[in-house]
């Protein structure tokens, strides 16, 4: 390394430091150049708000997919957020440290199980259950919400635990000294102090739910329709891309990249909010 010298090393490192940001820009560039021309040609309004998707006859309205993505994400939140936050509070406030040291990594393992495995279990176990107990085709918004809700649990739990543990012990002691019960301390003091971290964990979980593809294709049924009930089959933005990409040519292909643009922009906005929320937590600490 002496060949390069101290300045050379610094220069090399400073160049590589831009690898992540340039990758991001490259991704943005390629997705946008493939998708934006289509959006301009077709019209953002028509593309986003029309609900007819029939590529064979040149109809490219992705409103049903936008609605489905939002509903599925909302559903995943309803399932995953309360369970996750509750789990995080319980594990960090009521469980001995030694147990927690085993349980937290175990829960984080959920994040490492390939999403296709979740999807498959959704198809084999959950969908038949929904079909026989509640009706409809089984492959549905509800099935997708539950599977995604389970998938985001580890994200929500582990980030929430981190931010709850970051709350100074003195806060809790102060509250307990004033005669509050543990639960009063938790919901009036600890959770309030850890709020931004918990919110960030939920937003990151939302990002994962919106972005998940294969598991959703497997369990959501993929009908192009605005759902009227949780038992209806739906198609998310991600599913739309992955289902049709391999067959698409010409305008159809561009429309799928344009779907990618909408997804990309949506995710970046969501991420930025989460990042700002997490930063706040860091500064508070």
């Amino acid at each position: 390394m002496s060949l390069i010298g101290e300045k050379g090393v610094r220069r090399i490192l400073s160049i590589t430091a831009f690898s992540a940001i340039s990758a991001l820009l490259l991704i943005a560039l390629f997705i946008l150049t493939e998708g934006l021309p289509f959006i301009f040609r077709y019209g953002l309004h028509d593309f986003l708000l029309e609900s007819d998707w029939d590529p064979q006859t040149g109809k490219f309205g992705i409103f049903p997919m936008v609605a489905a993505s939002l509903w599925v994400t909302f559903g995943a939140m309803v399932v995953g957020a309360p369970l996750g936050v509750a789990g995080a509070i319980f594990l960090s406030e009521f469980v001995p440290k030694s147990v927690m040291r085993v349980v937290k990594p175990t829960i984080e393992l959920l994040a490492a199980i390939p999403s296709v495995v979740y999807g498959f279990i959704g198809v084999m176990v959950l969908a038949p259950l929904i079909r026989t107990q509640l009706g409809g085709p089984g492959l549905s918004l509800l099935a997708a919400s539950i599977i995604l809700g389970i998938m985001i649990l580890p994200t929500v739990i582990s980030i929430s635990i981190d931010s709850i543990q970051a709350v100074p012990q003195s806060y809790r002691e102060g509250s307990l000294a004033l005669g509050a019960t543990t639960w009063q301390t938790i919901h009036m003091v600890t959770v309030k102090a850890a709020k931004s971290g918990i919110i960030a964990s939920i937003i990151l979980g939302m990002g994962r739910a919106i972005g998940e593809t294969m598991a959703v294709i497997m369990v959501a049924g993929n009908s192009v329709r605005i759902p009227e009930s949780p038992l209806d089959s739906v198609r998310s933005l991600t599913a739309n891309i992955a289902l049709e990409m391999s067959y698409a040519t010409g305008l159809h292909r561009q429309a799928l990249f344009a779907t990618g643009v909408i997804l990309f922009v949506g995710i970046i906005i969501l991420n930025s909010i989460a990042i700002v929320a997490l930063r706040k937590r860091v500064y508070k600490k």
Partner: protein, 278 residues
């Protein structure tokens, strides 16, 4: 009527505990479900013979190779980039606008859905660079995908090296690079390895990005320009197309065990790292 605080306390603990138990039960159910159906299929022959008849018969050897090669390539590319980014951010600069932008970019990259990586890899590596559906396209796409993980974990690991180590090194006349090379990186190594393990874990489980960039050929690849199929993709295809649920479960069980092993190694390393520090 006001509910007495002690009742609310009891109620809260019950609900929270119930939610935690439910969460753990789901985890255990998923793992047991797959292992119970899959493990009986997994044996030496299953792991080391090639798939026949689209995976209906035979084993998963080529997909095992694909599952090793793709993440390996991704790590070979992403690890040097990620580690040097992290070293630059922590050791060579103070917080400026540029580092803020780099951090923001890294965080954003971490949140991008895999299908977008798949689209990007398809259009950039497969089409524009003309690499085709290949190990190279897939590996590079995965490299981009896991880069943020490696940057973040390395940064944490490097930051955790005590200030005093640096001061001692500098006072002995070492340059900054010598300090990084001899003092900081060796001390941060377990943390860095954890990041690499997490990256490997993520690329092993990935489907959407891989299917668009590495294709799904079951043939044994003879070079990095050949298409390959990873176990996750193989499982997806077997299970979804109903080719063979037996082999699908077998693949999933192998996959879960591999991922568990990798994660446990990562945690073990992290544990040793923390123990060493304190």
């Amino acid at each position: 009527m006001r509910i007495r605080p002690r009742y609310t306390q009891w109620l809260a603990v019950t609900i929270l505990g119930g939610a935690t138990i439910l969460t753990l039960a789901v985890l255990v159910f998923i793992i047991v479900f797959v292992l119970e159906k899959g493990l009986p299929v997994v044996n030496f022959g299953f792991l080391f013979t090639n798939a026949e008849d689209m995976g209906r018969a035979g084993g998963i050897f080529t997909t095992l190779i694909g599952t090793i090669v793709l993440p390996l390539l991704a790590i070979i590319v992403a690890a040097p980039l990620g580690i040097s980014t992290a070293v630059y951010l922590t050791e060579y600069t103070v917080e400026t606008r540029a580092t803020k932008i780099i951090r923001f970019g890294t965080d954003c990259l971490a949140g991008i859905p895999s299908i977008i990586f798949g689209l990007f890899g398809f259009i950039f590596f497969v089409t524009t660079l003309g690499l085709g559906w290949s190990i190279l396209s897939g590996g590079l796409t995965l490299a981009v995908m896991i880069l943020p993980t490696i940057i973040r974990t390395t940064e944490e690991a490097v930051k955790a090296v005590p200030k005093s180590y640096r001061q001692v090194s500098f006072s002995l006349g070492a340059t900054r690079w010598q300090t990084v090379k001899r003092v900081i990186l060796p001390n941060a190594l377990p943390g860095i390895l954890t990041g690499i393990m997490l990256g490997i874990g993520r690329s092993i489980g990935e489907t959407a990005a891989v299917i668009f960039t590495a294709g799904s050929s079951l043939r044994m690849p003879s070079s990095v320009f050949d298409s390959t199929r990873t176990m996750a993709v193989h499982f997806y295809i077997l299970a979804r197309e109903g080719i063979s649920s037996e082999n699908a479960y077998g693949t999933a069980a192998t996959l879960i065990i591999a991922v568990l092993a990798i994660n446990l190694t990562a945690y073990w390393m992290m544990g040793r790292f923390i123990a060493k520090r304190s």
